[in-house]
């Protein structure tokens, strides 16, 4: 008797699971098919004003020399920093890093250190103290606190691990009276002297999505590959893509989280290809893009129209196959800017309150030029790393 009951219970539990699975599935399906209501499930991450602003910023000519894009700024509002002026050079600059847990951050981190070497030789920076929080919010909060408590930092650079959680720590740092420079991901306070970032996630996602819309026939099927949920810069990319796909005639087959793992990406794309044709691939970051392309090769299907990233493995595969593709860019050269900003602030020079760096995708027109410039670089390197003029080039990036 007990056996039967147990079997029933197990069956009921399974049935319930499948049922909940189906009900939860329904709205997402509607969002994909009902083109008049895009972004139904991305509301949390979509802010119309920011979206409009970023899309507009793509067309604004940035101020400054185009040969040094890391010093350019889009519509800067200059702030006075004379209160922070410090005599004598050899400043102690401190840097609280969220992590170096992906190739994009590794590339940028090398660039920053090479830039620091230049500034150290010029006598602007004495000691460069750094901490790596390993993607742990609590660790980074205590890292920042330790820098503040030491009282020895003349300027503090912070690359926050997450937005909301790190906000109080950044506020504490601001309150200590030293100049604070935030870059990459933001925080919910404008107390920092300058916040440095490229245009942003909406622009990135839109660059990629618009390219697919322009290069695919109406009715074509697009698969979206995403790294992970819940990170603002990535969610914004997807939110923007949903807007653009929603207004287009393209059909979004699905959006899948891959963790950036090549094997996972290849599995997922292979499975979609088993179910039917895939005409386009949209990615929120280029990690593992080559694995997605190989899935098409191994299945004997024609190459998709694809949006990857300026990671070299993807760009090299793009050139080799001659496929129709674009490399949206989340400007890696932004890692140079914070240390330069620190020395500017300590010299009492003006800096933009919000330092918006240019962010331009690499298209087929300038692809080969970037490949040539980075010919010696490893495959998990980013084409727009912007360190070619630093003395450590190319060894520091090549022999990482």
């Amino acid at each position: 008797m007990q056996t039967t009951r147990l079997a029933f219970a197990a069956a009921a539990a399974l049935g319930l699971l499948l049922a909940t699975g189906c009900t939860t599935d329904a709205p997402a399906d509607d969002a994909a098919t009902d083109e008049s209501a895009p972004a139904a499930d991305s509301g949390e991450w979509f802010v119309q004003a920011e979206y409009d602003e970023q899309l507009a910023q793509r067309d604004i000519e940035p101020e400054g020399d185009p040969n040094t894009p890391w010093l350019q700024a889009i519509e800067p509002e200059w702030v006075d920093t004379s209160a922070f002026t410090r005599e004598g050079g050899d400043a102690t600059v401190c840097f609280s890093n969220a992590s170096v847990s992906n190739p994009w951050r590794v590339t940028g981190w090398i660039t920053m250190q090479e830039q620091v070497k230049v500034l150290q030789e010029a006598g602007e920076i004495g000691e460069f103290r750094t901490s790596d929080a390993g993607d742990d919010d609590d660790q980074q909060i205590s890292d920042i606190q330790a820098f503040v408590d030491s009282g020895e930092c003349d300027a503090l650079i912070i690359s926050p691990s997450t937005t909301a959680t790190l906000t109080p720590a950044v506020e504490t740092a601001c309150a200590s009276g030293i100049p604070v420079i935030v870059f990459d991901r933001g925080v919910n306070t404008d107390c920092a002297t300058t916040f440095i970032h490229p245009i942003g996630g909406y622009a990135y996602g839109a660059d990629a999505a618009e390219f697919l819309v322009e290069n695919l026939e109406p009715g074509s099927k697009v698969l979206a590959l995403r790294i992970l949920p819940g990170v603002d810069v990535l969610e914004h990319r997807w939110a923007a893509a949903q807007q653009i796909f929603g207004d287009s005639e393209l059909e979004v087959l699905g959006n899948e989280f891959t963790g950036g793992d090549a094997a996972e990406i290849k599995n997922i794309v292979t499975q979609y290809l088993q179910r039917g044709d895939v005409d386009g691939i949209w990615m929120d970051a280029g990690d593992g893009a080559v694995a997605a392309i190989e899935a098409f090769e191994d299945a004997g299907k024609p190459y998709p129209v694809m949006a990857g990233e300026d990671e070299l493995s993807f760009m090299r595969k793009w050139e080799e196959t001659g496929m129709t593709a674009i490399a949206p860019v989340y400007s890696n050269f932004q890692w140079r800017t914070p240390v330069l900003a620190a020395t500017m602030i300590l010299n009492g020079e003006q800096v933009p309150a919000e330092w918006v760096l240019p962010q331009e995708p690499i298209t087929e027109a300038d692809r080969d030029e970037y490949l040539e410039r980075n010919a010696e670089m490893p495959s998990l390197h980013y084409a727009k790393f912007g360190g070619e003029d630093l003395p450590g080039f190319p060894d520091a990036w090549r022999d990482r």
Binding site: D29, F257, Q274
Partner: protein, 331 residues
């Protein structure tokens, strides 16, 4: 009659049989959603992709059945792929030597895990967790965070290619053949004296020792086998998808889940190698089913977890029923 009843009990009656029932259910679900899945080429693609996890499950099975864990396999797979890319650096001629280096490295890691656990008496959970961190950290230190170099075409062959132009199925992947060979090897190994000692040391260490079995040597060998399986899995995964910084991440939990799903009791002494490998296949099939159902990606881990708990709980409840124990218990 008795035989049919015994078969029925094994299938429905929990223990190692449940996993085959689950596998049938999942495949039935996939068939209902997409009959095309069972056509030759797509089935072969599925098996190619599942092969590394099945091989890892066989390796993990030896460790778990002897009463230990190996949490270091995910990090070891990642390390092996990164080492391969760096040492080969695109040179075809280095393929075989580097594979031998990887094999030596895998054996070495397994040996260290085994000796620390058996000689120093550190619990395997701690030993291999430590090894996971050591490998993860060492690789990050060695590469500066992002892997460099590239794999050769020859290196990628076992994981990516196969015997082509076979009627009906198209391509028979090398990965599938390797999986079948190693799987058969694992099953045969469990029937030898070594296999019985392994099982006995997980079931009742003291009794095994008193009856003269060299428990520590067998357990160390189990870790070495796990290290070798991670090496082969690394070669297949690297071959399948190429190098990325995230290779192998979280694989240790997927594989332990697979083995437990196969009805191999944590703590050892119970379960078959075949069921453990079937558990791995079931997990991969479950991922495929989710994909076919177009289940939202955010919901998948929760559903996966619930199904696993339900399946293992079902198996465990059935196993504890005295009436069935005589037929369902594999030992």
């Amino acid at each position: 009659m008795t035989r049919a009843r015994r078969l029925g009990a094994a299938l429905l009656g929990g223990g190692t049989g449940t996993v085959f029932l689950l596998l049938v259910l999942i495949f039935a679900g996939i068939l209902a959603l997409n009959p095309g899945f069972f056509e030759g080429p797509s089935l072969m693609a599925f098996l190619k992709q599942a092969a590394p996890l099945v091989i890892l499950a066989a390796g993990q099975y030896f460790v778990i059945v002897s009463g230990n864990f190996d949490l270091s396999v995910g990090a070891l797979v990642g390390a092996q792929v990164v080492i391969a890319a760096r040492l080969i650096d695109g040179e075809e001629s280095r393929t075989v030597p580097v594979m031998l280096v990887m094999l030596a490295f895998g054996i070495g890691v397994g040996l260290v895990n085994g000796l620390i656990t058996t000689v120093l008496k550190v619990q395997s959970f701690i030993t291999t967790l430590g090894m996971l961190l050591v490998l993860y950290g060492a690789i990050r230190l060695w590469t500066g965070g992002a892997p460099t170099g590239s794999l050769s075409e020859a290196f990628r062959t076992p994981g990516r290619l196969g015997i082509t132009d076979v009627p009906l199925v198209g391509q028979i992947p090398w990965a599938l053949l390797i999986m079948l060979a190693l799987g058969a090897g694992a099953i045969l190994l469990m029937r030898t004296r070594f296999g019985r000692i392994l099982m006995a040391s997980g079931d009742n260490e003291l009794a095994a020792k008193l009856s003269g079995a060299r428990v520590d040597a067998a357990r160390t060998a189990a870790f070495v086998l796990s290290g070798v399986s991670a090496t082969v899995a690394g070669i297949l995964i690297g071959g399948f998808a190429g190098v990325s910084a995230q290779v192998g991440e979280g694989l240790e939990f997927t594989v332990i889940t697979a083995v437990v799903l196969g009805g191999v009791a944590l703590g050892g002494g119970r379960g078959t190698a075949l069921a453990a490998m079937a558990g791995a296949l079931a997990i991969e099939a479950l991922f495929t089913l989710f994909n076919q159902m177009a289940l939202p990606a955010t919901l998948r881990p929760a559903v996966q977890g619930a199904i696993i708990i339900a399946a293992v709980a079902y198996a465990a409840r059935r196993r504890t029923r005295p009436a069935l124990q005589t037929t369902a218990s594999p030992s």
